[in-house]
Structure formats: structure tokens, C-alpha cells
């Protein structure tokens, strides 16, 4: 029984602080492995493919997409919402779980935050390309200009998006960097003299471990977590406003903001799981990312997945209860229309499959967790596609009903965004400490419980 009350340690192998430093800095100090190279070259080539597709569509125009007069948003906005959602789990782990004093977050928060930043970068690309003339993207910034001055329309949900996403990116980056400073100092103290050491030193800002600084740093970290928590909720709420403020059956519902936030955290959790399960194997971090970390992440996936499932039911109920023929048609078209298979892929991957995580045996079977996490991401991508395309393609006017099919350019752009994401993530694994040493050292069991007996005179 005693064992039941004393959970296994967060970090396995009775590590000391010195062990942590050595283990986490090891990938930075040894040369890249074959695994790393093959992964990097694969993702970099996919990125190059995406870059070529983007260059082509910017040079030619967005007529290269499969959009038409009825379906004006499809792959681009689907990918945008998908990537933004991925980012949300990083902030959940780093900020919300910090406020809840969840110690297991320490092993995964750094990578999850990096994931947030890269995912938001990928997300930002799509609206930028969708503008058609991305070199005029600065027009979304309200600055005094010689066009009137003509200002942006602050009453538009798309404008709120600009501010929400850019704030989210900036705050996530700052949060991540502030967390990195002490670790950069640790890594630079160990690094061999050379450009890498100089760079690490430059960015460690002269951190010397003074507790006067730590004391302030703790408060700043808490404040940033307190700011990031409402921010992350606001970001996906604003993203959902892009749809909810439009008077289109299937979009115009009040359930959308909580539904989007839950879905975002759901997909992000799945992405964290996907990445962490691979990274712990490839980077040799099995002792740091243990069942104690994977288990709560699985439970969060299950929880958010069930909230999303509830939201799907609420959506259908609203359509039924509204008594509005258009709402009911939109719902039926979503279920049984020509894109019905997307809906059922979404239900299968997002609602049915995560229910397996109720079973501890499955949560412990890491290959199964990996497969589930990948399926959840597939499902969440389809969710956005279903919301956007099935609501648009059959509008109020049957004569304009049409179908949407992505072109090869759009598929290459989507693939390229994955290439960008994984390229950035691999570079991060290689050049920065991917686990927050300063935080893990604070939750080690080594030299804590048994010190009293050792020291007793």
C-alpha cells in the first residue's frame, strides 16, 4: 500500500543534478546521430518542396489553388487553424500546468513550448500566402501612412486574429526564451571554446545563478504564466470568431469558442505525445520522459477529446433545436453530404479512438499511444476541414453549390508546413537543451529524502 501512495519518481534512474546536466547537454555536445541526419534531411527536403510550391503560387497567384466562388476558404484556413491549435498544448503545459503546480510538466515544457513557436510560425504562413501579395502583408499593421491615413478595420474578427496571433507568438517566444536563459548559461559553461560557446554565452545574458536573480525570475515566470493562460484561451476564441461571427449555418454558433479551445489543446496534446515519444527514443531521454509524464498527457488527451465529442453533439443538438431549416440542412449535409466521409473520419479519430486511453494498459503501451496521437492529429485536421468546407460548399443558393478539391500546389504547401515544423524542431533538439534542466533539477528526488539520515551526526 505504501507504494501506492508514493508514485515513482518523475525522473528515473536516481539522477543527480550533475547527471541531468550531462544527459541533457549530451545531444548538444556529441555529433549528430544517423537518425538525426536522416530525419533532418527528410524534413528539409519536404520543406524545400513546400518552399518551391509557395514560390510558384506567389509568382502565379492563388488561382493555383482549388478555391472557387462558393468555397473561398478551404485548405489554407484549415491548415492555419490546425497549426494554431497544435501550438496551444505547449502553452497549456508551460503556463497552465505551471499555475496548477504540476511537477511533471518540467520534463516536457521546453519541447512543448518550442513546438508552440514552430507551430505558430507554420500557422502564420497560410494567411500570409492567402493574401495573394504577401509583400504587402505589413498593411495589416495600423501605422500612420500616406493612404489617407487609412486604418485597419478593428471591428473585423480577422483583424483581431492578427493581433491575437502576433501577441501569442511574441509572448510564447519570450516565455520560451526566459525559460532558456539559465540553461543556456549551463550549456555555455560546458561548451568547448568556439562559435557555439560564444553564441550560447551571448544569449545567456550573463546569467551567473545569483539567487537574487532567481528570486525575481521566479516571479517573472509566474507572471508570464499568468498572462499566457488567458492569452491562449483568447487566441483560439478569436480564431473561432472568424467563423462564429459570420452568419453561415455551421459557423454561426456560440459553442464555437470553447469547442475550438478544447480542440486546440486536444490536438496539441496529441502532437506533444507524438513528438515526445519519438524524441525520448531518438535522443535517449527515456529516463526523463517517463510513464509519469506520458500518463497525464494521455489523460489530458482523453479529457479534451471527450469535450470535443460533447461539442460535436451540442452542434447537432443546436441544429435540431433551432428549428431552422438551413441549420438542419447544414448539419445533415455535414453528416451525410458528399463530404460525409470527412465527418466520420473526424468522429472516428477524435471521439472513438481516444476512448482507448481509459485503459491503463493502453496508456502504458507506447506504440499504441503513438498511433492514437497520430490519429488524433489526422482527426483534428479533418475537423477543421469539415467545419470550413462543408459549411461553405452548399450555401443558401443551390445554383452555386459546388465541390472543392485541393490542387497539388495546396498539398505541397501543407507538406511543406510539416517540413518547416520538423526541420525547426530537429534543429532545436540539436542545438538547444530540449529539457528544462533548471526546472528538472528542482524536482529531482536524488539527495532529498535520504539526506537527513546521511547527515545525522
Amino acid at each position: 500500500m505504501a507504494e501506492a501512495h508514493h508514485p515513482p519518481p518523475l525522473v528515473a534512474g536516481n539522477k543527480s543534478s550533475a547527471d541531468v546536466t550531462r544527459d541533457i547537454c549530451a545531444p548538444l555536445e556529441r555529433g549528430p546521430t544517423g537518425w538525426w541526419w536522416s530525419a533532418f534531411l527528410t524534413s528539409a527536403s519536404v520543406l524545400a518542396l513546400g518552399a518551391a510550391a509557395v514560390a510558384y503560387q506567389v509568382a502565379t497567384g492563388i488561382g493555383t489553388w482549388g478555391l472557387n466562388r462558393t468555397v473561398g476558404w478551404a485548405f489554407d484556413i484549415t491548415n492555419f487553424v490546425f497549426w494554431i491549435g497544435i501550438g496551444h498544448a505547449g502553452t497549456l503545459i508551460s503556463a497552465i500546468l505551471f499555475l496548477f503546480r504540476q511537477q511533471w510538466r518540467t520534463s516536457v515544457n521546453r519541447s512543448a513550448e518550442a513546438m508552440t513557436i514552430f507551430a505558430v510560425m507554420c500557422a502564420g504562413l497560410f494567411p500570409l500566402i492567402h493574401m495573394g501579395r504577401p509583400w504587402l502583408a505589413y498593411w495589416v499593421v495600423p501605422y500612420p501612412n500616406f493612404r489617407g491615413p487609412l486604418w485597419v478595420n478593428f471591428r473585423s474578427a480577422l483583424m483581431w486574429d492578427v493581433f491575437a496571433i502576433s501577441t501569442y507568438f511574441t509572448i510564447s517566444l519570450v516565455f520560451w526564451y526566459v525559460g532558456l536563459i539559465p540553461d543556456l548559461a549551463t550549456a555555455s559553461a560546458r561548451a568547448r571554446p568556439g562559435w557555439r560557446r560564444r553564441l550560447l554565452e551571448f544569449f545567456s545574458l550573463g546569467w551567473n545563478g545569483s539567487y537574487r536573480t532567481w528570486h525575481r525570475y521566479e516571479l517573472v515566470y509566474l507572471l508570464l504564466a499568468g498572462l499566457a493562460t488567458p492569452l491562449v484561451v483568447s487566441v483560439h476564441t478569436v480564431v473561432s470568431f472568424d467563423f462564429a461571427t459570420a452568419v453561415l449555418p455551421g459557423w454561426h454558433t456560440t459553442v464555437l469558442p470553447p469547442y475550438f479551445v478544447a480542440g486546440a489543446i486536444f490536438s496539441g496534446m496529441a502532437m506533444v505525445l507524438t513528438l515526445m515519444l519519438v524524441a525520448r527514443k531518438v535522443m535517449g531521454l527515456e529516463d526523463y520522459i517517463t510513464q509519469r509524464h506520458i500518463d497525464p498527457m494521455c489523460k489530458l488527451t482523453l479529457l479534451t477529446g471527450s469535450i470535443v465529442g460533447l461539442a460535436y453533439l451540442v452542434e447537432l443538438f443546436t441544429a435540431l433545436y433551432s428549428g431552422n431549416a438551413y441549420e438542419q440542412f447544414a448539419a445533415m449535409n455535414r453528416l451525410w453530404g458528399p463530404y460525409g466521409w470527412c465527418y466520420w473520419v473526424m468522429i472516428g479519430c477524435n471521439v472513438a479512438v481516444p476512448q482507448l486511453l481509459w485503459f491503463p494498459r493502453i496508456r502504458r503501451a507506447l506504440p499504441a499511444v503513438f498511433v492514437i496521437s497520430v490519429l488524433v492529429n489526422v482527426g483534428m485536421w479533418f475537423e477543421r476541414f469539415v467545419i470550413i468546407v462543408t459549411s461553405l460548399h452548399r450555401d443558401f443558393l443551390p445554383s452555386s453549390w459546388t465541390m472543392y478539391l485541393p490542387t497539388s500546389v495546396e498539398l505541397a504547401t501543407l507538406a511543406g508546413s510539416f517540413g518547416l515544423f520538423f526541420t525547426c524542431f530537429l534543429l532545436f533538439c540539436r542545438f538547444l537543451p530540449m529539457i528544462a534542466m533548471g526546472e528538472v533539477k528542482g524536482v529531482l528526488e536524488h539527495g532529498r529524502g535520504n539526506v537527513a539520515e546521511e547527515v545525522a551526526p
Partner: protein, 386 residues
């Protein structure tokens, strides 16, 4: 400025905590503690007050929110009021999301920059660990030897009792003081370098002023013309895309322009008779406005040949061109309006077609005037008309 200190090194957090408690009990002054991570509860053990950086956060957040609210109100309601869906200029509920984002952004950035400022952290600052391993797994407790009464030997013994692995007396430079500024010599060197850099920059700017003198005879370079120049062909310019090389294309034969109604008649006398049977003047004789217009049209286009009174004594006829028949006597008085319209439109004998010059409305108005000339009570020339 430098100070004399006693530096003790510990391997375990618990030892450090006990040492801190012991040192405070002995009433010795703790300068600082160095640790590889934020030791939980150490601030309470040291008796330090909470940081006041929360105020920076609050201030930054409030400024951000207020600024964004103001900006949205000013741009939407004052600088360029734009009617969007009939919403009020000051659409306060719509301004909430952006004001919120502005608050979070300003609060976060202010807090971090305030931390960097008060902790004297800046990019490129040299890191010199107080003892090796303090960034790894060692803890260092620094006691300040404030005055001569400080008993280094007793303090060392106290620290070693708390399992300090190493205790040494050190003279620390300012860098390690809580308000550590760069040491004097280093600061002077830095300032000198900065001055050289600024001087060089000034020289470059001054040189640029002379090297790039503006040429008022040439237009400035445009970086973002923002559609000031249209890529479309102008109507009179040559165009390689059409076989005739013109941009402005003539309409396809048979096309009707806007407002034009088709006339399905041939230019023969029989067709003129048919037009007389079929067409009716859209204007009535009582329409003063149409009458005035008809008088003007008649004076402009008909007088040269037909004469002001319609007698066929126009200036052209007087010069020898075959005179037209009188409009006020004979056949013309018997012709219906439709036939006259046909004649004006398609021409007859020596009279050319007027359809290219006169709109259908003007032709009907001119007929109205001819009818008024034919009425004996009517004034004989337009000068008499008001």
C-alpha cells in the same frame, strides 16, 4: 568597488538550507546565494521580500490596454471614420479583443525587460561563475565580511558543520555585488569602443549626405507604388493583343449601345411609309421642354439647309446646293411623324442620314419643332421663343 567575502560551496540543497538557517541565527550578513536552479523556499529562508516586478507587469498591462483602446477609438471614430455595417463609430465591444491582446503583450514585454534591467542581464555580458559548477550542481553561499568584527574562522567552522565542501575567503569585484555594474576598467574600455563606433557612424552619415545629393530633375525612386501606375493599356495606346493593334475596339456590327432601341427599317421610301404607319412620337406637342430641345436641335442641325423657318432657304441652299423642299407647305405637312423620323434617320435624296449626329430623342424633338413651324399660329423662328 570590491568587497571581502567568505564563499562556501555545498553539494546538496538540504545542506545549503541548513547553512542559511545557521548563518542567519548567528546574525551574519548573507550577500547572495548561487544555485543551479530556483531552490524552493530559499527566499523565505533568506527572509527576502517578494520582488516588486509585479508592479511593472501591472503598469505595462494597463498602459497596453489603454493605448490599444485609444488607438482603436481614434482610428475608427476620429481619424478616418469608416461605416462598417452601420455599426457606431465607437464600437466598444468589438474593440475588446485587441485591447486584451495589447494588454497581455505590453505586460509580458514590460515584465521581462524590467527583469533584465534590474538583474543587469544583457546580451553578450560575460558570465563568470563564482565557483565552478554553480551552473551545474553546486550551491555557493556568499557571506559579506562587513566589518572588522567578522570572525572568518568561526564562520568557516559553522559552514563546514553544515557540510560545506569548500570554504574560502575571496575579494569579489562589483560584478558579483547585488547591483553588480561592470568593473571600472572594463566599463571605460566599453565606453571608448562605443564612442569610436558612434563617431564612425556619424562620419558615414555625413559622407552619405554629400555622396547622395538629391537630383531634383529626376523623380524619386518608388519602392511600393501601391497601384499608383496601372498596368492596363490606356485607350489610345497601341495594343499588340488585337489584330488591328488598337486598344479601344469599335463595337461589333449590329451591337446596341446602352439606352438605344433598334429600328428595323431599310433606307427606302416604302419603308419610310411603313415607319409613318408604325412609329409614334414619344413627346406630346404640349411638352415645353421637348419643344425647346427640338428648337435647339433644329437650329443647330437643320437650319443650314432648311432655313430658320423651314422654308428651304438655308445658307447652304442659297449658295447653290440643291434646295430642300419646304417643311411648312406641301407634302411634308401631310407626312406622319414616323415618316419624318425615318427621313431624318436614314436621309432622302440629297439629305444625308442624321442618325450618327442626333439621338432618337433629339430627332423626335426636332419633329415636334417642325410641327410647330407648320402651325400658322406658331412663331416662325426660334428667336421669338422664350
Amino acid at each position: 568597488m570590491s568587497k571581502r567575502t567568505l564563499v562556501a560551496v555545498f553539494e546538496h540543497e538540504a545542506d545549503l538550507m541548513r547553512a542559511v538557517a545557521a548563518v542567519r541565527a548567528a546574525d551574519l550578513k548573507i550577500d547572495d546565494v548561487y544555485a543551479p536552479y530556483a531552490v524552493h523556499g530559499l527566499d523565505r529562508a533568506l527572509g527576502w521580500r517578494p520582488s516588486r516586478l509585479g508592479w511593472a507587469c501591472a503598469l505595462g498591462g494597463m498602459s497596453g490596454a489603454i493605448f490599444m483602446l485609444w488607438l482603436q477609438w481614434w482610428t475608427s471614430a476620429v481619424s478616418w471614420p469608416l461605416n462598417v455595417g452601420g455599426k457606431p463609430w465607437n464600437s466598444l465591444p468589438a474593440f475588446v479583443p485587441v485591447a486584451f491582446e495589447g494588454m497581455v503583450l505590453a505586460a509580458g514585454l514590460t515584465t521581462v525587460f524590467a527583469l533584465l534591467a534590474v538583474a543587469r542581464l544583457r546580451p553578450g555580458k560575460k558570465t563568470r561563475p563564482i565557483v565552478p559548477g554553480v551552473a551545474d550542481d553546486r550551491f555557493a553561499l556568499v557571506l559579506e565580511e562587513a566589518d572588522a568584527a567578522f570572525d572568518a574562522a568561526a564562520a568557516s567552522k559553522l559552514l563546514r558543520n553544515c557540510r560545506a565542501v569548500e570554504v574560502s575567503e575571496r575579494v569579489l569585484e562589483d560584478e558579483f555585488s547585488p547591483l553588480g555594474a561592470p568593473a571600472g576598467a572594463a566599463r571605460t574600455r566599453l565606453r571608448r569602443r562605443l564612442n569610436y563606433l558612434l563617431l564612425l557612424l556619424l562620419a558615414v552619415v555625413v559622407a552619405m549626405v554629400f555622396l547622395t545629393l538629391p537630383d531634383p530633375s529626376r523623380p524619386n525612386r518608388e519602392f511600393f507604388p501601391d497601384m499608383a501606375h496601372s498596368p492596363a493599356y490606356s485607350s489610345a495606346s497601341a495594343n499588340p493583343n488585337f489584330p488591328d493593334g488598337k486598344t479601344l475596339q469599335s463595337p461589333v456590327p449590329g451591337v446596341l449601345t446602352q439606352g438605344q432601341s433598334p429600328l428595323h427599317y431599310d433606307a427606302t421610301d416604302a419603308e419610310a411609309l411603313r415607319a409613318g404607319r408604325e412609329l409614334r412620337n414619344p413627346f406630346s406637342a404640349k411638352d415645353a421642354k421637348a419643344g425647346a430641345r427640338g428648337a435647339l436641335v433644329f437650329q443647330t442641325y437643320c437650319t443650314p439647309c432648311h432655313g430658320g423657318g423651314g422654308l428651304g432657304d438655308g445658307a447652304v441652299a442659297l449658295r447653290g446646293y440643291p434646295a430642300p423642299p419646304s417643311l411648312v407647305t406641301g407634302d411634308t405637312t401631310k407626312m406622319p411623324d414616323g415618316q419624318l423620323f425615318h427621313i431624318i434617320t436614314y436621309g432622302r435624296v440629297n439629305m444625308p442620314a442624321q442618325s450618327g449626329l442626333l439621338s432618337p430623342e433629339d430627332r423626335w424633338a426636332a419633329i415636334l419643332h417642325i410641327r410647330s413651324l407648320q402651325t400658322p399660329t406658331a412663331p416662325k423662328s426660334i428667336e421669338a421663343k422664350p
